[in-house]
């Protein structure tokens, strides 16, 4: 299982990590996704059945309670973290809109079909509560007919 994230996810994650109200979001992410199998990483509430992929919402505890939006591609067992928000507090939200749903799915489609900037996530060796974002240039995934 390879763990990736979009630029937007990285931006949102880093914004939350800076806030003391959402301390521990790094630990939550590492504990849930780093070292997880594909089936573990794609667990949660299925928001959209895309046939070749699953778009899943993962409800995680931690200060504020977090929601991770995950796209799991079955063929190559890739996990894309596409968005995150807390439920409460200054940056809290009840849910994402239908338009946001579409936007998040389109971004992963774009990365896989056209390529672009994305990040591979790995835990920081010296700190089990932190994750590092390794810049990757996504290459278009060629599908044979």
């Amino acid at each position: 299982m390879t763990l990736y994230c979009t630029e937007e996810f990285k931006r949102e994650f880093e914004r939350l990590e800076k806030s003391s109200s959402y301390a521990g979001i790094g630990a939550v992410l590492v504990k849930t996704y780093c070292g997880a199998t594909f089936d573990e990483a794609r667990s949660g509430d299925l928001l959209n059945d895309l046939v070749t992929a699953f778009f899943v919402k993962k409800r995680l505890e931690g200060r504020g309670g977090f929601r991770f939006y995950v796209l799991a591609v079955i063929k190559d067992e890739s996990i894309y973290l596409t968005f995150v928000h807390p439920k409460t507090g200054r940056h809290g939200a009840d849910n994402i809109t239908k338009a946001k749903h579409h936007e998040l799915l389109k971004e992963v489609l774009r990365l896989r079909k056209q390529g672009g900037i994305m990040y591979e996530l790995k835990p920081v060796a010296s700190d089990s509560q932190k994750v590092e974002f390794l810049l990757r240039q996504a290459a278009p995934v060629i599908t044979t007919a």
């Binding site: 509430d45 299925l46 959209n48 059945d49 046939v51 239908k98 579409h102 799915l105 079909k113």
Partner: protein
């Protein structure tokens, strides 16, 4: 300095009268204290009962969340009319329960706030209510909204190439 000639009889009367007055006051004080204690205990019992209700409701409903999550993984349910009917009923129940809980939260919060009562159980109750409402929305979208959404159907067909 005035002096009083000790009048034993008068003094005895005063002592009896004072003793009686103290006894009456003491009895009244004990009765009043017992009544206050009774009222305080009744109030504390009501608070404890309310907190127990909040705790048990939150525990019972949050235990349903994993099963509700499994429901979202029923692939192909959209093609089964009976399954869709059942899912619709469950979503409706979830909506109604969440709405009832949020009303209960608002009422209880006002009381707890006024009386300065600790809100730990109440906060958890509200979290469970919010999650119930959120899951109801997600299930409704999953089975009733997105299957009818042209843009989503187009995205699904694009994902088929992956």
């Amino acid at each position: 300095m005035s002096t009083m000639v000790l009048d034993r009889e008068a003094m005895q009367e005063k002592i009896v009268s004072l003793t009686s007055a103290f006894q009456t006051a003491s009895t009244r004080e004990a009765a009043s204290n017992a009544e206050i204690e009774r009222r305080v205990n009744k109030f504390l019992d009501a608070i404890n009962n309310r907190k127990q209700y909040l705790r048990e409701t939150a525990d019972n409903l949050s235990a349903l969340f994993p099963k509700l999550s499994e429901l979202s993984w029923c692939r192909g349910a959209e093609a089964d009319a009976e399954a869709m009917e059942w899912i619709g009923k469950i979503v409706d129940l979830m909506d109604k329960m969440a709405a009832k809980m949020i009303r209960r939260y608002a009422e209880t919060n006002a009381i707890f706030h006024k009386k300065g009562i600790d809100k730990t159980e109440l906060r958890r109750y509200k979290e469970v209510a919010d999650t119930m409402k959120e899951m109801a929305v997600d299930l409704h979208n999953r089975f009733y909204v997105f299957p009818q959404d042209a843009e989503m159907q187009d995205l699904i067909s694009q994902f088929a190439d992956l």
